[in-house]
Assembly symmetry: D2
Homo-oligomer: 337 residues x 4
């Protein structure tokens, strides 16, 4: 951490600041520039709040040299994290494919979709029981009944299930019944929820917030990991930009960036990234080519009748073709399905 001082600062003021800084257990080193002085902080600065230091009257600005996250940081954990979940792995050489409808609608629907996506090669079944909708007047999901149906599909078809948790009220049930608990983009900085998820021992699929930086995303993962739950899976799902043609803008560079900054696995959600069915194949293949650890994609047995997000859900035969192409691309980038 580097602390840039304002011009014309008195020595006593600097001395007081140095003492404050060293009280955090770091060493300091002062550099005298032509028109300003700079204090370097040596040691573990991850617990120091940048804003607290900036708040000092003699400080012009504070710049971080190292990242504010520790447990999610590749520097301290050079090896890729790999999780074993229900007979499949997420992270590592093997790619993970998660597929299913936006929301669980009926027993018939979820079991049919589960069968179809498993046949094509999916490793996990996704399905929303509690749905975050921007309008209070839209379908809000089947709730607990939706989870019951997911469990039936799991029993019947044999795929682990991934579903979104929207409230701590349902945490107990999710912990018991769901294989991977999803945190949606709109809850990425719901810190109260993140803290609770740190207390359980279930893999968490943490979607990137609509307009959160990579650093904020890793700090959200850090919230969960700091609580003791280190099985975090990141998922890029498109960010908000000025472009309105697509629902969101798929930040494909987040894949190599996260691979460099962190040891956590990263998936891509091509469905929410694009918001349009015709783009899902392109983005799925791009994700794998860029080095993602897998995809989570919306598949519906009849997208034109879907109660939610139908316009971005693909048909089962489209999914089948995507999986085949992923299998072909995987070895080129050192992976396998």
């Amino acid at each position: 951490m580097v602390v840039v001082l304002k011009q014309k600062v008195r020595d006593e003021e600097i001395q007081a600041l140095v003492e404050q800084l060293e009280s955090y257990g770091v060493k300091t080193s002062i550099m005298e520039g032509v028109d300003c002085k700079v204090i370097g902080l040596l040691g573990d600065t991850s617990l120091i709040n940048k804003e607290e230091i900036e708040n000092n009257e003699i400080v012009e600005k504070v710049m971080r040299v190292s990242e504010p996250y520790k447990k999610a940081n590749r520097k301290f954990h050079p090896k890729d994290s790999v999780y074993q979940i229900g007979g499949h792995t997420i992270g590592g050489k093997k790619l993970a494919i998660i597929a299913g409808p936006c929301s669980v609608e009926s027993e018939e629907q979820i079991i049919e979709v589960a069968r179809l996506v498993k046949k094509s090669g999916a490793h996990f079944l996704r399905g929303g029981a509690f749905k975050p909708r921007s309008s209070p007047y839209s379908f809000q999901g089947l709730g607990d009944e939706g989870l019951d149906l997911l469990l039936k599909a799991k029993a019947e078809v044999g795929l682990g299930i991934v579903s979104e948790l929207m409230s701590i009220r349902h945490l107990e049930r999710f912990e018991r019944d769901v294989d991977i608990i999803q945190v949606g983009a709109r809850n990425m900085q719901n810190f109260d929820l993140l803290k609770e998820l740190g207390k359980i021992r279930k893999p968490i699929l943490l979607k990137r917030g609509l307009s959160n930086t990579l650093e904020e995303w890793l700090m959200a993962a850090e919230y969960i990991m700091a609580g003791g739950n280190e099985q975090v899976i990141l998922c890029e799902r498109g960010i908000r930009t000025f472009e309105t043609f697509t629902r969101n803008t798929c930040d494909i560079s987040a894949v190599p960036a996260i691979k460099r900054l962190s040891h956590l696995p990263i998936l891509v959600d091509p469905s929410h990234s694009a918001g349009m069915r015709f783009m899902v194949e392109s983005l799925s293949l791009a994700a794998i080519a860029a080095g993602a650890d897998g995809i989570i994609v919306e598949v519906h047995n009849n997208p034109t009748k879907a109660l939610c997000d139908g316009q971005q859900s693909i048909w089962p035969d489209q999914f089948d073709e995507i999986v085949n192409k992923i299998k072909a691309i995987a070895p080129i980038v050192g992976r396998e399905v």
Copy 2:
């Protein structure tokens, strides 16, 4: 709502779509263009999900003619909403001034700040008990003890209190003890929380999300109002853009925009908008000049010692000067303090 059809669509397909649309209780009217057909929907379309229609194979796109929110919409409630809260009003001709520290730190601090801001003219005391922090390693607020101290300050000084609710676990206490419940930017689309707030009868200060559009913001208000709690106060607090010099970008045009679209009061938070003390006065005065119904501003008795957001908190004498200038500008824009 206008439904644009794809080129070369068969009459039976159009007929089926028309029947689906009319099942929502609206009338339809077909326009035949040169290279495409367009179906106009007449009637109340606020309950129709745009995406569901877009999902139909023969639909190219759907465009809303009217807004998807009703209770928050000025078209259906032309008169400004005005709330009476603890002897003061929010909305209407009178401006509301809310001030206080980022977080409650001690009895001494909160009572001193309360005294000072009341003396300068504040109508409500703000103070965080539960704090949303981007790092799990930062100070997270005093929690319930912080609320206790706010109540002491209220009893001692006589200002109604505004504090942020982060979890439904604390809802009961907030409903009992807090005068205006704040929903932070990061929870603006925490729909589970919004629904619970719709069930109580307390004014809600709904901050705009980091990168949420005006429409999404009003839809979040609609969530609360649809539940029966119609006392929503909006608060612009800066949005996320490419500019990094400021913490956020104060979207000052949100003020006249919301005034046109909705009857709800709108405040501006100059502290989070800027993130820097030296800008708070400029943004406060700009907010009032632009037509805001008031400001909510961070004031600390000693910002350089603040445990949170000190760099954007102002000194009591700076607050005093801002209030004086607001008093001078108010009549020019048809308001009073």
Copy 3:
């Protein structure tokens, strides 16, 4: 085009507006809604200025049903545009690979890079002679001498050359000597330059502006095409978003989107998209997997000594590996190198 009228508008006002609209050679059709009227415009509306209509006192808003661009629009030119340039094609089944240094630095450098990239499989040599730099104090390129050196490299190695035109003052020389004239992101809406490029008959590589929408980009292409020069090649080079870890955010979904909206070829520039060497391979492969018609990538014989953009330039052996992987991915997505 759909014109939404304000509430409570008099019939004579509507009649006057209808006459104005029909004077543009379109037919109109009025739909009467519950609380507003809507006028549909039938016919070619691409020459009608949306804002002019919105300007009418009785108009609430105007929504386009069809795109404002014609020559660049796939609807009117369903077949992909393919250009033959110096023995190679851009567009169509064959992928195009353009490589070379950010800026031409010396005869030795440009000839060595040309030799190396040709050997690895590049079809064109890129190199900047006139450089757009954000600081007036940075190296601004060799200018005309840079073009001389590119011609030498072309004569020696046999690759067509691509270089950026910054000013109409150099147009004559570029028209004579350069095989593909590049318009940089910062000049994408330099309409004066675009008009001049419409008058010549050379392929134009039109980079997307820092924060321009797909529609604005296609309208910039339309400027060139409307002048009679229809050989426009689009190039996604990353857009500006809130994320600062990467230099820009590669909008990979622009690839399938442009393919749907337009018949023009689209390349991806992974170097400017990322701004960091370690990401170039990931983004190059993602571009091809997503369906791009090729890449334009910065390669330097010694990136650590580059006078410009060295941090994002790759080494020749990295380029070689990328080309090999592109060759392997191409057939999976129906392409060849």
Copy 4:
């Protein structure tokens, strides 16, 4: 400037880097951290290219301590710049008001608007002769004839004229006939144009680019100033964000920010910021309250008939009211009209 080195770097490599850095005429100072080393650069670093240093294999990142602009920097020119232009001042205590139509349409129109805005208190007349339009099919301005008409209005009414230069081809004429030469948002980084403007001696009104940071904007000013033309006036005109309700997002905090960073005057353009007539008053007053040195606003004698931007042009009586309110607010913020 602070250079952060990668982990595990050899001493000889550091020595070589230090020598390279010192060759730029700065001194260096090495700080040894726990897991990395940092080199501080002392002296004038404004001529050092950050990217060039980042390009070195042993460098992790480079952080600027001081700004890359010098002539535009308040640190080196603490006093506000004030220009005398045709009997009026821009900068300093007096506010400047520039008004007129988006484009010059006829002699009658421009003279009538000039008379009306002068009567209300405008100091300069704006009017577009050459218009940057996003569609090649839209009205492109009257060109040279438009300038002729502006000169007639100037002769007749006695207001200095402000007009946008789009091409170096017209530079000579603008230098001779226009009082303040405007550079539009789309040309803010047209570096070739900026360099030419550095060679003349006319005040330049430099609009902020659609998505350019404050630093890039000041660097564009630096381009002009480095050439010797130091009379640059900055103009905030709204930036591009995710919000689409407004044409652009008025970054009101740019006003106090620029005042802190630079000595150059800053105006606000409320017309382009909002894109809607009903917002112009709010944004104009907000600009003055925030500390702007004036406004440049689109006024038309009959906005509903305007050939360009009519929907954001205000009526002369609206302008009159805005000027009156500005006169009332000015003394509250220490200014006068």
